[in-house]
């Protein structure tokens, strides 16, 4: 069940517009990164470590080089420039040098005429590993990526009621369907063009060029079709490797990861352990929140520092809390590296904080909705970091709108087993099945934080076509990852330049426009809308100055950069603001869930989900509902089934046979309400919408399971064993 579709024709801001790329995507013509082809191209293959921790004594490539069809075999010695790269710190070797620190770490590369030849040659590379004892328990980790403590009010403040809990979350994988892929094409002049599925073209370029020993202008990154991202494409995958092989062979080189390789080939959501203590008065008002958060960052830094900040910043939820002590640590281990995934630290703490709110409600015999209303943050309230809410944040409204959604009546028995826990497995006729309802609130920032100079460029070229009609051509490097940002660009141009007869999108590339920043942190709609609007307005001014028309052949071409309000870092000792704000803006979502649980077998079925989300203003309502439904599904996955399994740091379920993501049978109908209270600083008042549903749904679903079973269920994903008590 989804909301009715609004009209599709006009395509201005606020209307449900058919996707710009819908037709090529339904016909199969849309060119994803794995679909690319160039005459004479070779296939690249990555040799990866089978160990989570080992010394690398020697890499012998002599046999592999002579294998049929092989054109190049490369090791770290062949990396001409910087040997290491990274999103925030250059700590990850392009190819292993003298050790490997995680399972699947790249060690060598092969280029051959057929992928099977590349695989066979790769199998002939002899690597002398001396396995080491991996550090796999984050509580025994030696080094921290970041430690952040937020002290707010009097962190020792006592109160009448105290509830405690220890919560855990397993490693979740983005599991985007389009595997990491790309095509690297040498330009014949020492430079390289890389066509790749990524989230941020310019930051890729700035990491690739130093490793290749090239100037940034010699490396052009072009966006190839992206088959989902969810944070997993923020870090590099094949970009440097493909370029090294292409430059060495002077042939185009295509690399396409297998699904198994993909599980080791990108960072994951940080698994977490959270110790929480909530103190409240007898009315249920929060007095003091004390939380210790341990995030396992895995082998390399990636974006762990920012995830750490987010986990700590949103640990209390969207509640007014006078006193708090939040200690968050992200550590290095030999587990799979972790970094960005939709929700980015807020998912983990939401799961703990919302369970704690329900515990308080139970002790105080309050309704879960009521206790949340009593503590809801509002404009003017202060966060534990000292930041005052000075924009839109309709927490109470979101709670009320969600609570008012009517859940479906229990369906009578007997019924088709497909609508019972266990589904087509036909495991129950309804006996032993209990129904439960849960409620939760999610809270997260929008845009990058803590002083990051986060800007976004866009360029608009207005010209008069052969028929004398005005055409606006938009140049943007914003990565369309499926979220629909290309539609946002067109809608903004249609809105700001009503006189143009057509709006066209130029290819997304570093070669023609400045950085758009990342398609992450729920920021790209906000930032790109701001940049495209600024460029459109400048073009319009110029057009008006010239009399309001262009002769055929004339053009106006203007690039503009948009910046949101500046932020500053949190104080490393106190976690308090060092300026006016550490985060740009906030969004919240409430969710109500009905589940049925077969308590004999531990099988679950999510029956219905209702949600209300603070979206600022919906730029494209159909796309917003799509983000809410899809984001909810990913949270459902973490609640019930998704966990990357490891043994001694080695991934043991790297396939869709063993790592399960929600199917059409797992997803219930989602009834979604949009709460539109425009964000004063955002272009058109629009907040990003992708992350809040993922933040809240795991917590809401497990709340419903607890309600059905009476169990604490302090770890996700909740397994059947947890429910039957094995």
């Amino acid at each position: 069940m989804s909301a009715p579709v609004r009209r599709l024709e006009l395509g201005r801001v606020g209307e449900s517009v058919r996707r710009v790329d819908a037709i090529p995507k339904v016909t199969g013509e849309f060119a994803y990164a794995s679909d690319l082809f160039a005459a004479g191209m070779l296939y690249g293959h990555t040799v990866r470590s089978p160990h989570a921790a080992a010394r690398v004594k020697r890499v012998d490539i002599s046999d592999a080089r002579g294998m049929p069809g092989v054109h190049a075999v490369l090791t770290h010695k062949d990396v001409p420039g910087e040997k290491r790269y990274g999103l925030e710190f250059p700590d990850q070797p392009v190819l292993a040098i003298d050790d490997v620190r995680y399972f699947g770490e790249p060690v060598a590369l092969v280029a051959a005429e057929h992928p099977e030849q590349a695989r066979r040659a790769a199998a002939r590379i002899k690597v002398d590993y001396i396995p080491q004892q991996p550090v796999t328990d984050p509580e025994r980790a030696r080094d921290a990526v970041r430690e952040l403590t937020i002290r707010h009010g009097n962190p020792e403040q006592a109160a009448e009621i105290t509830v405690e809990g220890v919560y855990e979350l397993g490693i979740q994988d983005q599991a985007f369907l389009g595997p990491e892929s790309g095509l690297a094409v040498p330009d014949g002049k020492g430079g390289i063009d890389i066509y790749v599925a990524t989230q941020w073209l310019h930051v890729d370029r700035d990491q690739v060029a130093p490793c290749l020993g090239l100037d940034p202008e010699q490396v052009r990154i072009h966006l190839a079709g992206v088959g989902g991202a969810f944070g997993g494409r923020e870090d590099l995958s094949m970009q440097i490797h493909g370029a090294l092989l292409a430059l060495r062979t002077n042939r185009p080189v295509k690399m396409v990861y297998s699904r198994e390789e993909s599980f080791a080939g990108h960072v994951h959501r940080h698994p977490a352990k959270i110790w929480a203590e909530h103190r409240a008065d007898r009315e249920g008002k929060l007095i003091n929140v004390r939380m210790r958060i341990l995030l396992d960052g895995g082998a390399y830094a990636s974006s762990s520092t920012a995830v750490c900040s987010n986990a700590a910043s949103f640990a209390c939820g969207p509640y007014s809390v006078p006193n708090a002590l939040i200690e968050c640590t992200a550590v290095f281990t030999n587990n799979p590296p972790c970094g960005a995934m939709r929700g980015f630290g807020a998912v983990q703490t939401c799961f703990a904080a919302e369970a704690q709110m329900d515990k308080l409600a139970r002790v105080l015999e309050l309704d879960p909705v009521e206790i949340r209303l009593r503590n809801a943050l509002g404009p003017g309230d202060v966060l534990p970091t000292g930041q005052r809410i000075d924009g839109s944040l309709p927490v109470a409204e979101v709670i009320r709108r969600c609570a008012a959604l009517q859940e479906p009546e229990p369906e009578e028995l007997p019924r088709d087993p497909i609508r019972l826990p266990g589904g087509a497995g036909n495991t129950t006729r309804g006996d032993g099945v209990r129904r439960g309802t849960g409620f939760a609130l999610g809270f997260k920032n929008i845009c990058y934080s803590e002083g990051f100079d986060d800007y976004c460029a866009a360029r608009v070229r207005l010209y008069s076509d052969a028929g004398g009609e005005l055409v606006a051509e938009i140049h943007s490097a914003a990565a369309e990852v499926g979220q629909g940002v290309t539609n946002v660009m067109v809608q903004v141009a249609r809105t700001e330049l009503p006189e143009v007869s057509d709006v066209v999108l130029a290819p997304h590339t570093t070669a023609a426009v400045g950085s758009a920043g990342s398609s992450s942190a729920s920021r790209q709609t906000w930032m790109t809308a701001g940049a495209v609007r600024a460029a459109c307005l400048a073009v319009r001014d110029e057009l008006e100055r010239g009399g309001g028309s262009l002769a055929p052949g004339e053009e106006i071409d203007i690039e503009r950069v948009y910046r949101h309000r500046q932020t500053t870092p949190l104080d490393p000792k106190t976690g308090q603001l060092t300026g006016d704000r550490a985060h740009v803006a906030f969004a919240c979502a409430a969710m109500k869930v009905v589940v049925e649980v077969d308590v004999d077998l531990g099988l679950t079925r999510v029956v219905w989900i209702g949600t209300a989300q603070d979206v600022g203003r919906a730029m494209n309502p159909q796309a917003v509902f799509g983000q809410i439904e899809g984001g909810t599904a990913q949270g459902l996955g973490l609640a019930l089934m998704e966990e990357l399994q490891t043994r001694d740091g080695v991934i043991t379920n790297a396939s869709f046979t063993d790592y399960l993501i929600p199917t059409a049978l797992d997803m219930p109908p989602v009834t979604a309400e949009l709460v539109e209270e425009p964000e004063p600083d955002a272009p058109y008042g629009a907040k990003g919408v992708g992350e809040p549903p993922t933040v809240v749904s795991t917590a809401a679903i497990v709340a419903a399971l607890r309600n059905a079973t009476g169990l604490e269920l302090a770890r996700v994903p909740v397994r059947p064993d947890d429910i039957v008590g094995l």
């Binding site: 199969g28 013509e29 088959g227």
Partner: protein, 152 residues
């Protein structure tokens, strides 16, 4: 080895490695990358094609097994004149497409479902599509698209 089959109504031949999947042959030798490579082990349905009218995962069929047979891929689903199949129209209109990587497999699977069951119940839709993974949409708008096509 050399294989020959009819793809989307056209006779095609390719020189393939013996162990090659039909999916790889379609994508890398025949210029038909519409069928997608999300898992290549029959779990995700993104490579769904019709082989002699039966819905299969092209990644689980060897090119050699398909020799002499008839294959319909997403590229052949339209009316051959640039017009879309009704399922394709509905996916675009309903907002059933986000990243779109699952879409070609899904439109082939839905076309197959509606040919067998013209007016499926919600449960029939969910069960029929449970072999096609989508990571973006949460499936709601995909179900809308199926119902939209069935009603038209």
């Amino acid at each position: 080895m050399r294989v020959a089959f009819v793809v989307n109504g056209e006779e095609r031949e390719a020189e393939v490695w013996e162990g090659e999947s039909l999916l790889f042959t379609l994508r890398e030798h025949l210029g038909l990358p519409g069928s997608k490579n999300a898992c290549e082990q029959g779990e995700c349905g993104s490579c769904s094609v019709l082989l002699d009218g039966r819905l299969v995962c092209a990644c689980l069929v060897l090119a050699a097994q398909a020799d002499g047979h008839d294959i319909l891929t997403v590229e052949g689903l339209g009316d051959g004149d640039g017009g879309l199949h009704p399922v394709q129209e509905a996916f675009a209109a309903a907002g059933a497409v986000q990243c779109g990587f699952c879409t070609p497999g899904l439109v082939v699977a839905v076309a197959d479902l509606l040919q067998r069951v013209p007016d499926p119940s919600d449960d029939e839709i969910r069960e029929a599509l449970s072999g096609n993974l989508c990571r973006c949409t949460g499936y709601a708008k995909i179900f809308d698209a199926v119902r939209m096509t069935a009603a038209s």
